[in-house]
């Protein structure tokens, strides 16, 4: 029996589109130039010199004409982004987010696919639940969704989930995200079992004996606020431990949401030994620090916590050097009343899908810390880590495209959010760079209101 397609759901129908004179940037395809791009039947059909491609008469648009969007040589056409780490909260926590709202937020942020975490209620740890979620995603998701079921049943760290059956039902890999696999022995069994069933094991790294009682990074700010601290060694010691286990078992592991310099070092050391590890980093860890927690704004509370500026710089360096393979948002929606409580009582997490690109463009690309091509590469690299084709602007490929206006300035959240929740750590910040149009798996998933004006 062959496994089903791991990504499911997405927009319909296949797009018929002519993008005229857009600046195409796809570092993977080696393109950085102005082009006309034709999307026919949801696939990239033609790339021509600016002004070269003509409107075709046989479109399927309402008028029988394909839509034409004029980029004026200014709008950028990027491969759409891939987010390997989101919380869609379904089943059980639909008051925070659901498959429709979460993927709508993804599309608005320029993402053509996301991978959902299993810390739902009930936990995604069985084939029947995976089947029903995939059915729901096929109906409701605005962009394709992949699922990572739990490594251990109920995320309790005591018994493996039925990984082989879950893989047959389309599991992309496995994770206990939200919690670590605390027992080294349990994780080792999962690593061994990977030889049977395949699938990346994605790890949320945290030693609860070190992090217990903590609500923010341990350091000067936690000392001043009297809030229990989470030391960064709570993450980095587990990264080092699990990298060694993966090396010993020759298993494939992915480290989720790295937050500190010591973890970057541990991943670099593992990679230098040839161990099969990869890592992701979140926009908030690249842009914010413990200083942003001083106001005890609960939107700044997430796991792992915002750390020091030295950690932030090390993460950027890790991303640049490729020690960290990709960007992931860890989009973690929570309802307003859940976050409108004192800091120590608030749940961990920030939304991030709608701001990821704009925040990183504003915070890293505009000041010249990294270049746009690298950002695009790292925001699309998550796909390959999960053995999926990376979004690419090449002839014959399905259209996974993000059309962005790098000059557009907006205030995060000023017109509300596509997500059901508003707990975004970048809310209220002025960002530059806006996604105008997202195509996912060949169809239009998001169209910004500003597009009509820009295209006119």
């Amino acid at each position: 029996m062959s496994a089903p397609e791991p990504l499911i759901g997405g927009p319909r129908p296949p797009a018929e589109l002519l993008l005229r004179d857009v600046h195409v940037l796809d570092p993977r395809a080696g393109i950085d130039a102005r082009h006309d791009v034709r999307v026919r039947g949801g696939r990239i059909a033609e790339l021509g010199a600016p002004g070269e491609l003509e409107r075709e008469p046989h479109g399927v648009d309402a008028d029988g004409e394909p839509e034409v969007i004029d980029g004026g040589g200014r709008l950028r056409l990027l491969p759409a982004f891939f987010d390997p780490h989101v919380h869609l909260r379904t089943p059980g926590q639909e008051h925070k987010e659901d498959l429709e709202t979460g993927t709508r937020a993804a599309a608005a942020g320029g993402f053509c696919a996301v991978i959902a975490m299993p810390n739902t209620d009930p936990v995604l740890d069985s084939a029947p639940l995976l089947r029903s979620l995939r059915d729901a995603a096929a109906r409701e998701a605005r962009v394709p969704v992949g699922f990572l079921p739990a490594i251990t049943r109920g995320l309790e760290g005591e018994q493996l989930s039925e990984m082989a059956e879950l893989r047959q039902e389309g599991a992309l890999g496995f994770t206990d995200d939200g919690r670590p696999v605390q027992s080294a022995g349990m994780l080792r069994k999962a690593l061994q079992y990977q030889r049977l069933c395949g699938g990346v094991l994605s790890l949320h790294e945290e030693d609860p004996t070190l992090s217990r009682g903590g609500a923010m990074h341990e350091g000067a700010v936690s000392a001043a606020l009297g809030i229990g601290g989470i030391p960064s060694v709570s993450e980095s010691t587990m990264v080092a431990r699990d990298a060694a286990l993966a090396g010993y078992e020759d298993a494939r592991v992915h480290f989720q949401h790295l937050s500190c310099a010591a973890s970057v070092d541990a991943v670099a050391a593992a990679k230098a030994r040839g161990w099969r590890v990869s890592a992701e980093v979140c926009p908030h860890h690249l842009l914010l620090t413990e200083e942003d927690v001083r106001g005890m704004d609960t939107r700044m509370k997430m796991y792992p916590p915002l750390a020091t500026d030295a950690d932030r710089v090390a993460l950027i360096e890790g991303l640049r050097a490729g020690t960290i393979d990709c960007v992931a948002t860890d989009h973690a929606p929570h309802a307003r009343d859940e976050k409108e409580v004192p800091f120590e009582q608030a749940p961990m997490g920030s939304t991030g899908l709608e701001t990821a690109f704009a925040a990183l463009h504003t915070g890293l690309v505009l000041p010249g810390v990294i270049d746009l091509a690298l950002l695009v590469q790292r925001m699309t690299a998550g796909a390959a880590l999960y053995e999926l084709p990376a979004p690419s602007i090449a002839l014959g490929e399905p259209a996974n495209l993000a059309l962005v206006d790098l000059d557009a300035v907006w205030i995060a959240g000023e017109h509300g959010w596509e997500s059901r929740s508003e707990n975004c750590c970048f809310a209220g910040r002025t960002l530059q760079g806006r996604v105008l149009l997202t195509l996912a798996a060949g169809a239009i998933a998001h169209r910004d209101r500003a597009l009509a004006m820009v295209g006119a």
Binding site: G226, G228, G229, M296
Partner: protein, 322 residues
């Protein structure tokens, strides 16, 4: 001043103004009639999410001596136990239009949050392990009375600094007033990064004789179960302030309640160096000064319900018969 949330928000002039006002109120306390009409018709709501006798009763006495009406709202036995959120509780109680809410919670930042949710003046009476600003003010008051001033004084704060809101507020307040602060205690109970508040850190009491003021913190017995220190016995042998460690020229302080035989030996509690009961006395007059500052001081807010015959500061929805 609109609220008293944190010592961090105060400068030296603010602290001196409140302490001087407290000194004026102290004269009232020595009279036969201890009441002044300064806050007549004003309502002070004590909202306590943690057990407290001395802080709550001290605020209650302070409000009553200023002729304010006092309502005590303890979180146990109330809607809070039925799962009502802090915000909903505050919004509900705000319907009674308190002029000030004195708030104690186990959560850092709660007072700041509450100050955004209602129009009353908020007095932080302890927010988790963050701050306890009125304790710091009464400690400054006590020391000023005892020493004349604390500019240049060396003050050691000893014990469980990690879990102490008193320590954090006092480090800030003593430094604002020109003192040099050292925190000392077992390394497990000194939070990493505390030195960035500007204080020195010591893990032994070897240099305690350099201190002018010895401020011992309460050692919570429940910390033992979490193995912050190996035993109370070992804690006492290394950090207890006793007759051997305390010199006659030093002043001894403690926020109470004292664990005799743990952080303090019985002999020093009863010694002339100890100003522990003076701190309790100071609690009432300093809290009077704080309530006065917020509700009747120069930049105080107008009454939630204006006195008869005076126009309301802001129109009130629904109107109200004066």
């Amino acid at each position: 001043m609109n609220h008293l949330i944190s010592i961090e928000d105060l400068d030296r002039a603010d602290i001196e103004r409140i302490v001087s006002q407290a000194e004026r109120f102290a004269e009232v306390s020595d009279r036969e009639i201890k009441k002044v009409p300064a806050l007549r018709g004003r309502m002070v709501l004590n909202l306590f999410y943690e057990a407290s006798t001395r802080t709550r009763s001290s605020f209650e006495l302070a409000a009553k001596r200023l002729s304010a009406d006092v309502v005590n709202f303890a979180a146990s036995g109330s809607s809070v136990e039925k799962g009502e959120s802090l915000k909903d509780t505050v919004l509900t109680l705000s319907a009674h239009k308190p002029d000030a809410i004195v708030l104690r919670t186990p959560w850092a930042g709660a007072s700041e949050l509450v100050s955004r949710w209602c129009s009353a003046a908020i007095v932080n009476a302890g927010d988790g392990k963050h701050e306890h600003p009125t304790q710091a003010l009464l400690d400054v008051y006590t020391l000023r009375r005892r020493l004349g001033g604390i500019d240049g004084a060396s003050i050691w704060i000893i014990g469980d600094v990690a879990h102490s809101r008193v320590a954090r507020s006092n480090v800030l307040a003593f430094q604002r007033m020109g003192a040099k602060v050292t925190v000392a205690g077992p390394p497990t109970l000194i939070p990493r990064g505390i030195e960035q508040l500007g204080c020195d850190v010591r893990y032994t009491l070897d240099e305690l004789d350099t201190a002018d003021v010895v401020y011992a913190l309460r050692m919570q017995r429940e910390r033992m179960s979490e193995t912050w220190v190996p035993s109370l016995r070992e804690y006492a042998s290394w950090y207890q302030i006793n007759g051997r460690r305390l010199t006659p020229r030093q002043v001894l302080m403690h926020p109470g309640p004292v664990n005799r035989g743990v952080e303090l030996s019985g002999e020093v509690v009863d010694s002339p160096q100890a100003v522990i009961t003076a701190q309790v006395e100071a609690g009432v007059v300093v809290r009077m000064a704080v309530l006065y500052e917020l509700l009747a001081g120069r930049d105080a807010r107008p009454a939630a319900i204006p006195p008869a015959g005076e126009p309301a500061a802001q129109p009130v929805a629904g109107g109200r018969a004066a």
